[in-house]
């Protein structure tokens, strides 16, 4: 199965790129996931091949009766081409664990169900039998929760979940038990980082039962001032409480970020503006970019767009650059693997091409007429 076979799925994890949600310049995306397990089978890490196969079979049989998964594509990891698997990971629809051990590939009967009629996907036979999730643009926790709640109702009517009267929905890891809910919001917080207030904010998060991670979730580093903020506990509160609490805190953090930006512009306007235009300049003309460097430069440019210092450049373009300049995406566009520094060259070329057509217009370019004309 190649990438083209799963491409027809509309949205396909990219709907959020359009930056249509609330505060889309600061909050890139909202994700809500639920962990569920089926009765009568060992959990993911302890499941044998026949357990996993039985779980996948059971799920596949029931899909036609689940309206939100009508016409869903079942992408079995071992049957996917290697690059297609990595594409799923880069779009946050499969976990890195699902790629399997290096050299051995993914485990048999691990799969991702890709919703065709709604922006939902379900990882099958990951750490838990089912991990259903949805991804929305901007801050849209309630909508995301309500959609995933519906999918859970539909699936739960068909599949016998492992459920305990006291502990709730049972999960492989006790840190997910109860609601099995993880709601997370991907935030861009350069103002707080530059004004060195971020430490306090992150400290505050841990005091109110929230946690933060890097772009790719658990275990990933924070790059480009992108923080994924999510609930830490899953038991003892209702799903609505967890989601509302997160939303309240995130709104507060947005406010802090905005205040920090006001301070930046007040006390360090020239430095800030210079940083933003330098980042733009590097992106526009660099011949080689590592993904990490790109993320750091995109952070500067994103701040510029948000502060309306880079007219003509859209948040959508920045989201697109972030997703499509990941290694597997570049290889997919090139139609071959890009070993060594080739990837960095392709990344820089891609960014230049997009910015040439969708890039910012400098006020100086408009007024003085200097620049490109000198070449002629």
């Amino acid at each position: 199965m190649s990438f083209d076979d799963i491409l027809p799925v509309p949205d396909f994890g990219l709907g959020w790129l359009d930056a249509s949600g609330d505060h889309a310049d600061v909050v890139l995306s909202t994700r809500v996931r639920l962990a569920r397990n089926l009765q009568g089978h060992a959990f993911g890490p302890r499941a044998r091949v026949n357990d996993r196969e039985a779980v996948l079979r059971q799920v596949q049989q029931k899909i036609p009766r689940v309206p939100l998964l009508a016409d869903a594509v079942v992408a079995e990891m071992p049957k996917l081409e290697e690059r297609a698997r990595r594409l799923l990971v880069e779009r946050r629809m499969a976990s890195r664990d699902m790629l399997g051990e290096p050299g051995r590939g993914p485990l048999r009967a691990t799969a991702v169900l890709l919703g065709a009629s709604a922006p939902v996907s379900v990882m099958v036979n990951e750490e838990d039998h089912l991990r259903m999730q949805t991804l929305f643009s901007g801050l849209r926790l309630r909508d995301a929760w309500s959609l995933i709640d519906r999918l859970d109702e539909e699936l739960g009517q068909e599949l016998p979940y492992a459920y305990h009267g006291e502990f709730g929905f049972l999960t492989s890891c006790p840190t997910n038990v109860g609601t099995g809910l993880r709601a997370s919001v991907l935030m861009h917080l350069p103002g707080l980082v530059l004004t060195k207030e971020i430490g306090k904010v992150l400290q505050g998060l841990s005091q109110v039962g929230l946690t933060f991670r890097g772009l790719y979730g658990e275990g990933s580093e924070v790059v480009g001032n992108f923080f994924q903020v999510s609930n830490q506990t899953t038991l003892g509160k209702t799903e609505e409480d967890l989601v509302e609490h997160l939303e309240r805190v995130v709104r507060q953090v947005i406010q802090y970020e905005m205040q920090a930006r006001v301070v930046l512009l007040r006390d360090a306007a020239q430095v800030t503006e210079d940083k933003i235009w330098r980042a733009y300049g590097l992106l526009r003309y660099a011949r080689s970019l590592s993904f990490e460097e790109l993320m750091n430069l995109l952070s500067g440019v994103r701040l510029g767009v948000s502060l309306k210092l880079l007219p003509g450049l859209r948040v959508y373009t920045l989201n697109k650059l972030m997703i499509f300049s990941q290694p597997a995406h570049l290889e997919e566009a090139a139609g071959r693997s890009l070993p060594g520094t080739e990837g960095d060259a392709h990344r820089a070329a891609y960014v230049r091409r997009i910015l040439a057509t969708e890039g910012a217009v400098s006020p100086d370019d408009e007024s003085s007429g200097a620049g490109p004309s000198m070449a002629g």
Partner: protein, 189 residues
């Protein structure tokens, strides 16, 4: 960020080494080494879990590699873990996972494990989540019993009240429909 949370020091289990006290509260055993860059100088502090959290450090409990394993290891080292500990050989009758396995990997083997290690888990869950009781969605299995149905209805009524409170009337209407669909015929007006 100028803060680098580190996992507990290696070799802290050596018998010759006395357990280090937390430098903030001076009471609990230090389990986190916090290294910070302050004015271009590296400052290292040894902290207990609680003080580390107060300082905003994601303690070993959240270390990316095997978060719960570290947490469980710590609990094992602590003088008196809350809740009775199961014997290391005690095994789940369904999947065969032993208590020692669980301590090592931090993952349970199957739904039955929650029953096998129930009393121990209750203590663990209270420490991890601050609670042991699920108050969220009540699951309604494909062929529900009368009591399962009643529990589910109760939860839905709570959800309805809340939606009305939040003035989310669209959601309230959906929940009301769900309740109507589940209520026994004779209760309907």
């Amino acid at each position: 960020m100028d803060e680098t949370p580190r996992p507990p020091e290696q070799g802290s289990g050596e018998p010759s080494e006395a357990p280090r006290r937390c430098e903030a509260c001076g009471e609990e055993e230090a389990v986190v080494r916090l290294t910070r860059i302050v004015n271009d100088e590296m400052v290292t502090m040894h902290l207990c879990d609680a003080c580390a959290r107060e300082k905003g450090v994601e303690g070993p409990a959240e270390a990316p590699s095997a978060p719960l394993t570290d947490f469980l290891a710590q609990m094992g080292d602590a003088p008196a873990p809350r809740g009775p500990a199961a014997s290391p050989d005690e095994a789940c009758p369904f999947c065969g996972l032993t208590f020692a396995d669980f301590r090592e990997v931090g993952r349970l083997g199957c739904p039955q494990c929650y029953v096998t290690f129930e009393s121990y888990l209750r203590g663990l869950l209270r420490r991890v989540h601050g609670s042991t009781g699920h108050v969220g969605k009540v699951y309604l299995p494909p062929d529900p019993s009368a009591s399962e149905l009643e529990k589910r209805l109760e939860a839905l009524r709570r959800k309805l009240e809340r939606a009305v409170e939040m003035e989310d009337f669209e959601r309230a209407a959906e929940i009301r429909d769900e309740i109507r669909a589940l209520e026994p015929q004779e209760q309907r007006p």
